[in-house]
């Protein structure tokens, strides 16, 4: 009798775990543990941008970079700047740099609290105050307004890379869902944009 009760309880537990595991893809986001205490402006420094040999025009490149900022709730495009990325200067900057032969983009945290003190839902977060993004000048870019491959050759989607990097800037980390913007791998000529997973992540960050 007792054995039967145990078996039933075990069966319920297994079913419960199975339901829970099936429900997880509906919340496929990951939080880094930081969040912005208030909406943060991100400035764009277009200097150093390489416009020759691209699949898109100079203005399309600018739009693709800034277009990667605007989908997110916690940050907004604040205009252009002459300030340099990876400097602590009170300004969140996305800009261009020669990042060498293998690196397409780098996100740098420049100021954040080390301790989590900010409640949001059932989690605690640390405040983030400044983050910069650098995008490489070494490779060819395209965007939703361009072709891929284009006459010049294969390229990466600049809007997708910018949106992905700024997803990290708002406090999202990588997920294990290949279709998601925050999946840590994508291919040449593969375009992605913010979707439901990322929106749920924003909600979980209380933005």
């Amino acid at each position: 009798m007792a054995m039967n009760r145990m078996k039933k309880a075990l069966r319920r537990a297994v079913v419960g775990v199975a339901v829970a595991s099936l429900a997880i893809p509906a919340m496929a986001y990951c939080l880094t543990g930081v969040r912005w205490p208030a909406d943060a402006g991100v400035y764009y420094n277009a200097s150093g941008k390489l416009t020759s040999g691209q699949c898109i025009s100079s203005s399309q490149m600018d739009s693709a970079v800034t277009g990667g900022i605007t989908p997110w709730k916690a940050i907004f495009y604040a205009g252009t700047t002459t300030k340099t990325a990876n400097k602590r200067d009170g300004q969140n900057t996305v800009g261009w740099a020669n990042l060498g032969g293998q690196t397409l983009g780098i996100t740098n945290y420049l100021s954040n609290d080390r301790f989590r003190t900010v409640p949001c839902g059932s989690n605690l977060f640390a405040n983030l105050y400044e983050a910069d993004v650098r995008i490489t000048t070494a490779y060819r870019w395209t965007s939703g307004g361009g072709q891929c491959p284009c006459a010049a050759g294969s390229a990466f989607y600049l809007n997708g890379v910018s949106a992905h990097e700024h997803g990290h800037v708002i406090g999202l980390c990588h997920v294990n869902t290949p279709a998601s913007l925050m999946y840590p791998s994508f291919g040449v000529c593969e375009n992605k944009s913010k979707g439901n997973d990322e929106s749920q992540g924003e909600n979980a960050l209380c933005y």
């Binding site: 939080l31 990876n86 397409l104 640390a126 294969s154 990290h168 840590p184």
Partner: protein
């Protein structure tokens, strides 16, 4: 079922993670292509770390490495070379470059080093850095010291090792006589630079 549970656990653990793992993006490359991009490939011991504030590139760390073995490049055993990482601490300000390699004094490491605008950097953030695994006898082997937060683009599988000393030496050596990149994007980028 088992896979789903493991995946679910990974997501939950990720959601509870304390560290601030942001992301940086690198192209997935073969070891051969990494070797072709590198000016130096050396094994050595980290002597010191020094934060610097570069006028253009921002906060970086100068890593002094005492070379013990050279797979590629104009370096000799016993020589100390300096390369930079893409984040650092200077004047009380910390810049954390996500996915960048982490070094500590005394650490023995294998580093692929490229030269960008006349300055030496480890190649592809932590993708260019390998742990040296010391065996009880014989030569060490290597395992890639990739850090959390790297996004990898492209279709090339990433080898994490362990890779034996002789394998690493022969694969790097092969690129000396076969300089054309495997990855078409690299061939394309090289042509653009010419």
């Amino acid at each position: 079922m088992r896979g789903k549970l493991s995946w679910g656990a990974a997501v939950i653990l990720g959601c509870l993670a304390v560290s601030a793992a942001l992301g940086s993006t690198v192209i997935g490359l073969s070891i051969e292509d990494q070797a072709r991009l590198s000016k130096w490939i050396v094994v050595g011991e980290v002597q010191s770390l020094q934060g610097v504030d570069h006028p253009v590139n921002g906060l970086e760390t100068a890593v002094s490495l005492k070379v013990s073995d050279v797979f590629k490049g104009p370096a000799k055993a016993g020589q100390t070379i300096v390369f930079y990482t893409r984040g650092g601490e200077a004047n009380g300000v910390i810049s954390e470059a996500v996915g960048e390699a982490v070094f500590r004094p005394g650490q023995r490491t294998l580093v692929f080093i490229e030269e960008t605008d006349g300055r030496a950097y480890n190649l592809g953030l932590s993708m260019g850095v390998w742990n040296v695994l010391e065996p009880t006898s014989g030569r060490p082997s290597f395992s890639r010291a990739v850090q959390d937060g790297l996004e990898v683009v492209g279709t090339t599988p990433i080898e994490s090792g362990p890779l034996s000393w002789s394998d690493m030496a022969s694969r790097v050596g092969w690129t000396m006589t076969h300089p054309d990149f495997d990855e078409s994007l690299l061939r394309d980028a090289a042509a653009r630079r010419r």
